[in-house]
């Protein structure tokens, strides 16, 4: 058996029982790798459960800085008997298995092509501790200590992290240090350390920050000037609203009076949440709600109201696996069509697709400008994979000269000097009318906001021509949006390839690695990362310039592809769907496999309606 040998480039996966205290120990491991200057990207793959069900924590370690999942596991820390068989099966040939050897396991439970590293964790704990909870918790710290020795992690680095974590709690710090040492000592005295997998000090982390997407998006809402947030708890979006509250406590209290420059309400349901957002935005505040797919389903009626009455509103959809309750704690990109065409009647909405926490921050702040400018709902399409995982990304940036774009708002002065006000009057031929905030002027500028059809002066009208006039203006407005939303980003801009790839959101990091791997195989593809809907003309050009386009997404029905075909009129045979939707984040290996197979198949038999170059 030849064991895998790799330095700063492998995958460690922890299989644990939910609620056993493993989360903080596993995070300690990931942070230690980062402290060594080696890029690492951890992902929680967790159940909808408080205690008892299986949970995993997968750490991608990559000197080159790949942040996506690679696929496959090189070292499995198998701490959950419930999932032992599948966990062992997932290890790469030549990989490693770290397990609790307190009880003897049948030889059939092991693999010949995997190096087994048994540490009697339970026994060590039982000897060292009398308290049941301590026995449970320190088991996790002991395996981190052992991993340190096995992978050659600098013990000083781990000790420093423990010191920071338990600053001012001397007793806790000491007991953690002791547990780490027990694990380390056991590994050093029983195995050849390090094993084939090693962490060596590097500088691939640099200035990068380690941040969760939901927290970043919430901070973007602070920077974007949101003052009203209304939400209803739902995984995986709750931590966004909670982070907003945390950030507001830091940044948004009046230094003299201590009073809040924000209002956060935990509403009774998602319908009330979006209603509050609409009410606040109608009244001139920047407001948002954070939810997930089921919440969007509930908000449909109000979203149509905001579209038709033209009220700015920002909605964060941290997507999870659907349909119905679906997979509440698993990731997907399956709310694309739900949000793009939310509500009954003819509607279209602006969607933004951040790729990581940094972009979640930026797009969050931008969403408030877009909503005000376009006077319409704007969706920030986050995903569980981005929202609930910490990701290494470039430091957040803010230009202090940036001003909020409050859009077309008629002021008291404008009304006073007699500017014509028609709430739905297209004065600039961009489809965007002026609005007034309630209470602006005693005599002028008031109007009635309604979900019913109206004329250009907001007067109720069921007349066909008035209705059509209004609906056409809304389409013009959507055209205007095309040029305001974030442009797509072209990667591998060689135009040498006949093959193009379109992707978006959390697929990005795995895609970057896949593009690189495909190139190594001699398969060059041009790639376009879509960042918003409506699609800009650059998308149409990209599709026109390539013979075949792979559209990579994380849902069953190829929803982005559907939207591209529907909105841009592309020939469906030209767009090949590459779909990963089992609820786990997409991997680079999956993409490489699908695209190489796809290219091979296309080379053999080009799809109908297209010609191979």
């Amino acid at each position: 058996m030849k064991n895998i040998a790799a330095v700063n480039d492998f995958v460690v996966k922890f299989a644990n029982v939910n609620g056993s205290g493993s989360a903080s120990a596993n995070a300690l491991f990931a942070r230690a790798v980062l402290r060594m200057g080696v890029s690492a990207s951890p992902r929680n793959i967790f159940p909808s459960n408080i205690q008892g069900l299986p949970t995993w924590y997968e750490v991608r370690i990559s000197e080159r800085g790949w942040q996506g999942r690679r696929g496959g596991v090189d070292l499995m820390v198998a701490m959950n008997p419930q999932t032992w068989d599948e966990d062992v099966a997932e290890i790469e040939p030549g990989g490693y298995l770290l397990y609790d050897s307190t009880k003897d396991l049948l030889p059939t439970k092991f693999r010949d092509d995997v190096q087994s590293i048994g540490i009697p964790l339970t026994r060590i704990c039982n000897e060292a501790y009398t308290d049941a909870r301590q026995r449970q918790l320190f088991k996790n710290i002991i395996y981190v200590g052992a991993l340190g020795a096995l992978l050659d992690l600098d013990p000083q680095v781990i000790a420093a992290l423990i010191g920071e974590q338990f600053k001012g709690k001397e007793a806790l710090m000491q007991s953690n240090v002791k547990a780490l040492a027990m694990g380390r000592d056991y590994a050093l005295s029983h195995f050849d350390c390090p094993i084939g997998l090693q962490i060596q000090k590097s500088d691939s982390v640099g200035e990068k920050i380690f941040l969760e997407g939901n927290s970043a998006a919430a901070l973007g809402a602070v920077y974007g000037g949101a003052t009203v947030a209304a939400w209803y708890p739902i995984t995986p979006s709750s931590s966004l609203a909670e982070a907003f509250e945390r950030h507001c406590k830091t940044y948004r209290h009046d230094s003299d009076s201590g009073r809040a420059r924000y209002a956060i309400l935990q509403a009774e349901d998602e319908l009330a949440s979006i209603g509050m957002v609409i009410g606040a935005a109608w009244n001139g505040a920047r407001a948002f709600t954070a939810t997930s797919g089921p919440g969007i389903s509930l908000m449909q009626e109000f979203i149509g109201f905001a579209y038709f009455a033209e009220i700015p509103s920002v909605i964060f959809d941290v997507q999870r696996g659907g349909p119905s309750t679906g997979m509440p704690t698993r990731t997907q990109q399956s709310d694309i069509t739900l949000c793009a065409y939310a509500s009954h009647g003819d509607t279209k909405h602006v969607l933004l697709f951040p790729e990581d926490p940094k972009e979640a921050f930026e797009m969050s702040a931008t969403a408030f400008d877009l909503a005000d400018r376009l006077q319409t709902p704007v969706f920030v399409m986050l995903e569980l994979d981005i929202g609930m995982n910490e990701r290494l990304c470039d430091p957040l940036e803010w230009d202090d000269s940036r001003r909020f774009d409050r859009g077309k708002v008629m002021t008291h002065e404008m009304l006073e000097r007699g500017d014509e006000f028609g709430r739905y009057l297209d004065v600039d031929v961009d489809g965007i009318p002026y609005r007034t905030y309630p209470g602006t002027h005693p005599q002028h500028g008031s109007y009635f906001t309604r979900g019913t059809t109206k004329d250009r002066y907001a007067k109720y009208s069921e007349a066909g021509p008035d209705y059509v006039d209004n609906m056409q203006r809304l389409l013009r407005k959507f055209e205007t949006a095309k040029n305001l939303v974030p442009e797509p980003i072209l990667h591998m801009d060689t135009h040498a390839s006949q093959f193009g790839v379109i992707f978006f959101g959390s697929t990005a990091p795995a895609m970057y690695e896949a593009i690189d791997a495909l190139e190594v195989r001699g398969l060059e593809v041009d790639a376009l990362r879509i960042r918003a809907f409506p699609f800009s003309d650059a998308v149409t050009e990209f599709v026109a310039e390539h013979d075949q386009i792979f559209v990579v997404e994380q849902n069953r029905d190829a929803q982005l592809r559907m939207l591209l075909i529907n909105e841009c009129g592309f020939n469906p045979t030209k767009l090949v769907a590459v779909l990963h939707y089992d609820g786990t984040p997409i991997t680079a290996r999956f993409i490489v496999h699908e695209i190489s197979e796809g290219i091979a198949a296309l080379n053999e038999a080009p799809l109908r309606g297209t010609a191979a170059k």
Binding site: G224, A230, R261, A285, W398, P438, G439, P442
Partner: protein, 351 residues
């Protein structure tokens, strides 16, 4: 009510209020409800209340849901911003609007279908939160726009126009409001403007969640024998607890009252409510007693009206949230955006 447009010119001698506005200035578009509809009387009451309170109409935001009652904000305060939201969801929109600008006066207008059925949840929660508003339910016990179905406030045993007897228990909005923590709770009758207008004025001045249930007969579908929301039935069964006089500013008591018959209630802003007690033993500051009397009278088929409950120490949502005294919608980059220096520190913490 009528298809004849209101004349634009008014008699030069028509009375004006302290702001120099005529009552006409507080009106809105011509009503499209049925002739004799109770809702139009309530609209007229609102016009009178705001006229007499000397409130600039543009300082009022009027919000509603869906239904006959929810159409009425078009018919009063034409210079106010209005919002006709979706069915049963006025309370959430009003709550959000109130959070954005605490300085406006919020008038929520709803009906029994809108608030007791589809919107029961939002009705409950906005009262719980103490949103500073006047929440009016124009209660006719029937779905008018869809032609006569029972609503959830229709009394058990009452008959529909088509002769069907209602088998379901009714929802008492006043009882719910008391239980849910509304700090001003009243019931009135659209046919008794003398009672309704002072209640509306007091509710507007109340800082907190004020709820008024106004029985408002539907002349088209619920004004027949066998209905418990008809003009005749309500007149016969109306048990008036007290009569409210509203003093815009502290004025001396000119009328003679027997001792113990009048109570003066000082408002936050120094204005005074004068409550003439009809039922001598009734204390409108005792929430538990209010709930008891309501239940006891209802069991006897009586409809209790008047100021049912009033919390002198009411607090509103903004005080609970400790928000700044200025409207949130007036804050700009300076007050809201922490800037790049703060972001540098934020980044440093995560490196």
């Amino acid at each position: 009510m009528t298809y004849i447009a209101k004349p634009k010119l008014a008699h030069p001698g028509i009375p004006t209020n302290e702001l120099g506005y005529t009552r006409r200035y507080y009106e809105g578009a011509v009503s499209t409800l049925c002739a004799g509809c109770g809702h139009d009387s309530i609209s007229a009451g609102i016009v009178q209340a705001f006229f007499e309170l000397n409130i600039e109409p543009h300082r009022v935001a009027k919000l509603s849901g869906i239904g006959c009652s929810s159409k009425t904000p078009t018919y009063f305060l034409g210079s106010s911003h209005g919002l006709n939201s979706v069915h049963g969801r006025m309370p959430s929109v009003l709550t959000g609007a109130n959070l954005a600008n605490r300085e406006l006066i919020y008038l929520g207008v709803s009906g029994d279908g809108d608030s007791a059925s589809i919107g029961l949840g939002q009705f409950a929660h906005c009262l719980r939160r103490g949103v500073n508003m006047v929440y009016i339910v124009e209660n006719n016990g029937v779905y008018g726009l869809t032609k006569g179905q029972f609503s959830a406030t229709a009394d058990k045993g009452s008959k529909s126009k088509r002769g069907i007897t209602n088998a379901d228990s009714n929802i008492d909005m006043v009882g719910l409001a008391l239980q849910l923590g509304a700090t001003f709770v009243a019931r009135s009758f659209s046919g008794d403007k003398a009672q309704l207008v002072p209640l509306l004025k007091a509710a507007v001045e109340h800082k907190g969640a004020a709820f008024i249930d106004v029985i408002s007969p539907c002349v088209a579908f619920n004004n027949h024998a066998g209905s418990t929301k008809s003009y005749d039935y309500v007149r016969e069964h109306n048990e008036v607890l007290n009569q409210l006089d509203f003093m815009p500013r502290r004025e001396p008591i000119t009328a003679d009252y027997e001792a113990g018959e009048v109570e003066e209630i000082r408002q936050h802003d120094g204005q005074v409510l004068r409550l003439r007690k009809v039922s001598k033993d009734y204390d409108p500051h005792d929430r538990i007693a209010a709930m008891n009397i309501l239940q006891a009278r209802a069991a006897e088929g009586e409809i209790v009206t008047g100021l049912i409950y009033f919390d002198r120490e009411a607090e509103d949502l903004h005080s609970n949230l400790n928000t700044v005294e200025f409207p949130l919608n007036t804050l700009g980059e300076e007050e809201l955006c922490p800037g790049s220096a703060a972001l540098d520190l934020f980044n440093a913490d995560l490196q």
